[in-house]
Symmetry: D2
Subunit: 269 residues, 4 copies
Amino acid sequence: MADVEGFLFPRTATGASSLLPAPPWHYSGVTLTLEYRTDPAAVAELLPHPVEPADDDPGAVAVIWADWQSCSDSFEEIVDPVRSQYLEVFVVARCKYRGQHYSRCLYIWVDRDYAMVRGHHQGYPKKLGSVHLTRPVTVGKAGPRLEPGGRFGATLAAYDRRLIEAGFTITGTSESAGFVNALPMLHNRWMPAIESDGSDSVDELVTMSGYDAEVGRTFTGEFDIRLFDSPVEELTRLQPRELIAGYWREVGVSWRGGTTLERRVAPPM
Amino acid sequence: MADVEGFLFPRTATGASSLLPAPPWHYSGVTLTLEYRTDPAAVAELLPHPVEPADDDPGAVAVIWADWQSCSDSFEEIVDPVRSQYLEVFVVARCKYRGQHYSRCLYIWVDRDYAMVRGHHQGYPKKLGSVHLTRPVTVGKAGPRLEPGGRFGATLAAYDRRLIEAGFTITGTSESAGFVNALPMLHNRWMPAIESDGSDSVDELVTMSGYDAEVGRTFTGEFDIRLFDSPVEELTRLQPRELIAGYWREVGVSWRGGTTLERRVAPPM
Amino acid sequence: MADVEGFLFPRTATGASSLLPAPPWHYSGVTLTLEYRTDPAAVAELLPHPVEPADDDPGAVAVIWADWQSCSDSFEEIVDPVRSQYLEVFVVARCKYRGQHYSRCLYIWVDRDYAMVRGHHQGYPKKLGSVHLTRPVTVGKAGPRLEPGGRFGATLAAYDRRLIEAGFTITGTSESAGFVNALPMLHNRWMPAIESDGSDSVDELVTMSGYDAEVGRTFTGEFDIRLFDSPVEELTRLQPRELIAGYWREVGVSWRGGTTLERRVAPPM
Amino acid sequence: MADVEGFLFPRTATGASSLLPAPPWHYSGVTLTLEYRTDPAAVAELLPHPVEPADDDPGAVAVIWADWQSCSDSFEEIVDPVRSQYLEVFVVARCKYRGQHYSRCLYIWVDRDYAMVRGHHQGYPKKLGSVHLTRPVTVGKAGPRLEPGGRFGATLAAYDRRLIEAGFTITGTSESAGFVNALPMLHNRWMPAIESDGSDSVDELVTMSGYDAEVGRTFTGEFDIRLFDSPVEELTRLQPRELIAGYWREVGVSWRGGTTLERRVAPPM
């Protein structure tokens, strides 16, 4: 009988096998944020009681592509990039809880297992997907420059079906990268009981923010976006009614934990 | 504010987006089970208190490849096979808890997101990997026949490194497929608290078995196996000291839930 | 200066690095053949001069999924299955050349590099794709049995877009697996000149057949099929006008070479 | 009977299905070049008659990672990045032919089908592989800065086995990115005859260079590199004896064709 170690499973005598290293986790990358308004009811129906719609502009959503490198405090993943590079795309709305406003991830897809499970820890409902985002270049003809007129494409597929495709064209520099994903996150962490009878072992409302956030070059622009159907997705319920704006930004941030706001648990046994 | 639905996240108004459909889940496939004895201390160090080593043959482990199709009770995944086919390889040992013996999965890799997260629900510490297993054939020269002399290969890689490779040769038919993975499973389900301070929101000991198990053709044989190092794996601590036997078997089983034996929870908030 | 060895590039002193081992190549697997009639003009427009449409039923095409293991005469790939297992889907029509009828592959996608380049050698216009085909099972609920009522799904995607999806239901056993892919193949092998000016270094018409073909269990059935658009595909020009029949069959075959019927070459330099 | 169109197969009435669009092809990206000296005999044995070793420093090789976006003259691939982004790693040496010196690709792996086949057209002996290269960042902690001390990792795997891993640390800026890959390329283009009897339909020596080359930021640094075995690779015959230097560089280039220097063809039929 051992006292096993490790931030996550598999826990072992040394902890070296854990699917995730312990936080802090560091992230550096690029985000493309496309903000639009959808039917507010389509957002509201995704907010579990007692989370409420945002007071202002409750139909505003952001679809965000991110092209990351990430690592633990050992930084060893950076020089073994198969363990540090991944892409993700996620849909965010704002919501209200106990009178305070938050951002909330509604849907998210990512292309690596560690990033998927790290997201589950944080309350992101991550699935695996195939995510692509045009990169800017500084020389040659095969890519946009970071300047007005620079054109980017961004796509998502899962289970061999394209789910989202979007185009973005820079119109100028920007101070901000939008308002929808700008608040602390409010997520549910759900773990169904092994009994699989509809009960949850734990149902938590958590909040979190990164720290040491740094922003680099930021641009705004025009965009178009198309959402497609799948037997196991509901993105087309979030069709755009009105486009707001798009933003491309360099981002660095670290994360070391969040705060449990509410925890409903099954009884100890 | 909605009452969201879905067995797992993302939970929505309809439940259609859930990464997992609700159980029961049905499985049909083939397993290759390679049983050997390792240092009993290498098994014992992986058993968290109060789980104990098995009384008899505590160093016996099984490395099992499985080539599955699986589906929910709608059976729709069967005709969209990108959502039903996957391979996995897992390492099992036996253990004892409250005087009763169980099987327990120590390590496991799988090649699809739904199978990975389904495993997390069941307490399997699943990571993504690249898993391959020779298939038997009935015509032509490009594969073994299910008869003495039939040779199979089985491999695992993760993060672009080969972790296991094995060979198996049928010597005859068999009534059993080994003894290591033959008991109800005893797993821990761990969910670290969002505070990420080393505490767990929930730490459960669960047990489960499938139902409606059906076995098909079963063969025994000789095998060899090689375990390799990785910066994030510890398989080489489980080096074989003595090979026992290998088994190839057709298996069908269904699963609808397990039983929580022990639950330690963080206090409700 | 060495005399380099190897069936294909990279050629080296030993030949061990060749992307392809030398033939013969052995194949064992399963095919799902869906035959239908499309507009004969849609087939004719894909036949390069002097290849002509078939005399009878010139709009008949077959869409064929194949789930293979393959190997060289060393058979070593069989026990390293990452080098032997692949799936492909291809579209075949019949045609006529110098008064004789042949089968001809119009389009084809495969999921492994060696199978792709092996196809190029044989005149198959192979691209990479994601190919899935339901497998029959003998136990459990997660798959069809090889008997009337058994239902299969078959899909293709490339560049993150679904291109084909089909369903097949067994109605009974069958002697044949259709007539469209039943003749020797007639393929063009094209290699554009490095000058990339529209000229070809070599433009060959070749024919070939396997040898030691063995067929196993064969079933016929009903099917449905849907073809989808992509910016770099033209499958939707081959829409079904009339379904003929579907066939599931176990197949083994070997291949050691073909015959050049016609060769147009750029002048030696 | 149609006159089919398309730069490469599958050729169709419109040309839209061709696996490759017609040149010119444009490339923008980043290269990491690691130069070292190996046994000159290990290079010489890879040069087919009448290609000879370079006069000076004939054991010098470069192992080069490249992280590309590429596109045709339509530029449409740029905004559908699943069709434009890929990574490759290749091994280059210098050689001599008819008294003139050239660079020559000995081995190369790439992660996309279009890039693989485009390489075959150019005489690159491309296989598929899993290629990773650390990217520099401008904000956050999860990546190196483009400045002295910036550390990068670079890896290659194929068939689930790691083949190369390397580390690189910037020491300063640089005017050049090395001398091994700095000459026009001299490649063989081989196409075995369909008869598969050891004869080639075409065996060409070709040369080519890009045009409109642009270089961006360039850095030099120290590196380490490890080469691993595989049953189908021979990289370990090229072990380093002496490290020269490493270079990180932004590169843009276009390509529209090459020149056939020598062509041996099988007789027309």
